[in-house]
Symmetry: C2
Subunit: 221 residues, 2 copies
């Protein structure tokens, strides 16, 4: 009976590991689709780049702000390292502004806050070198709401998100960049307000309308 239990355990773990490897490969494939598509698009003057993961990708920002300078450069499941590795496409046009939000997937994939900050530094240094006139806004990572029970890898992240955001605020101060604290406006009882999400991680239309109100002064300035 023991050997059967062991066999079942190995079977279940294999399924799990197979699923994780499949997820990772799927992400890399998608990353390459989006990256190559972004590289195929013409550059424009005075671009305002929304740079991030699925949460950035999920909105038509140019429509939301009725502002055609705005370009969506979100890639679902992206991490700070992924942003760094596709930054040439972003800085090539010498954009006017970059609104950056990244880090939630990094935490879920097991990166430490220090590792994430190292990639932030690489990103910010590269922007400064390649496009010194670009103004970069560091947006806080949004809260999550684990009560939806949809993303088990994210369920324990509420406290570490707060720690990461404090470090990001400090980083922005050190580099004389604007830090935009979106986190607290999206909270209800210390979790992502269910008014703005249907899965505890991503936003619905109401979430993007709130985000718009919180940053429109920075788009306009």
């Amino acid at each position: 009976m023991k050997s059967i239990t062991l066999f079942l355990l190995i079977l279940i773990l294999s399924f799990e590991s197979f699923a994780q490897e499949k997820t990772r490969r799927k992400w890399l494939t998608y990353y390459e689709q989006k990256k190559s598509t972004f590289e195929s698009l013409p550059n424009d003057e005075d671009e305002i780049i929304f740079l991030g993961n699925s949460i950035t990708e999920g909105c038509e920002w140019n429509e939301l702000f009725d502002d055609d300078r705005i370009k969506n450069r979100g890639i679902s499941a992206d991490v700070a390292e992924g942003i760094f590795l596709r930054l040439d496409e972003v800085t090539e046009s010498k954009p006017l502004k970059i609104f950056l939000m990244i880090g939630i997937n990094d935490l879920a994939f097991g990166y430490s806050i220090d590792e994430i900050l190292q990639f932030y530094n690489k990103i910010l240094n590269k922007i400064k070198e390649d496009s010194p006139k670009t103004k970069t806004y560091i947006q806080s990572v949004l809260p999550i709401n684990e009560s939806f029970g949809k993303f088990s890898a994210y369920d324990t992240l509420s406290n570490v998100i707060i720690k990461l955001n404090l470090k990001l605020e400090k980083l922005a101060q050190d580099q004389s960049l604007e830090f935009i604290n979106l986190h607290e406006s999206f909270l209800l009882n210390n979790r992502l307000n269910p008014k703005y999400t249907n899965d505890g991680l991503h936003l619905t239309g109401k979430g993007y309308l709130l985000w718009k109100r919180l940053i429109e002064q920075y788009i306009a300035e």
Copy 2:
């Protein structure tokens, strides 16, 4: 030993069915995120709507054509029924043109060609009723390339895609609409040309550049 084999079989099937149900729920959640976001965006004059699934969603069409009338209304994993159920948001602005591509997921999910055509008819009738001046272009479903081995549910679809496209061409003729045959331009040896894809189903940047060349006359006319 027989009972163990049976138990393992049930376990594997449970995993499979659990995974399918998880995929379906994830799609519905995502559909609702995107639909509510589209509904939060302002309407514009003379909109040109790109309407479809992930293959439509994957490109920044307004940037590709440098034309701000173009709006992306693609939702990953969407089907003809899904398009029909979110058509109000599309027709509300009385768009100038709609470029429709839908059907590949329907086939993968097991809908018959007749069922898909019924939803196409519902879609076209509703557009005609709600926004009679809108010009709708029916784009053929693109070929797939099963040799990538990434999407098992799509692997047997090459021939049925051709049959669906013939029916869509007929439907367009019957309704005096333009049918745009993209399918053959994306082929190499009867499969989606690997030059344009990295997973056999979705497009990379080069794929979208080809698509652009094939439809730019219809955007301009």
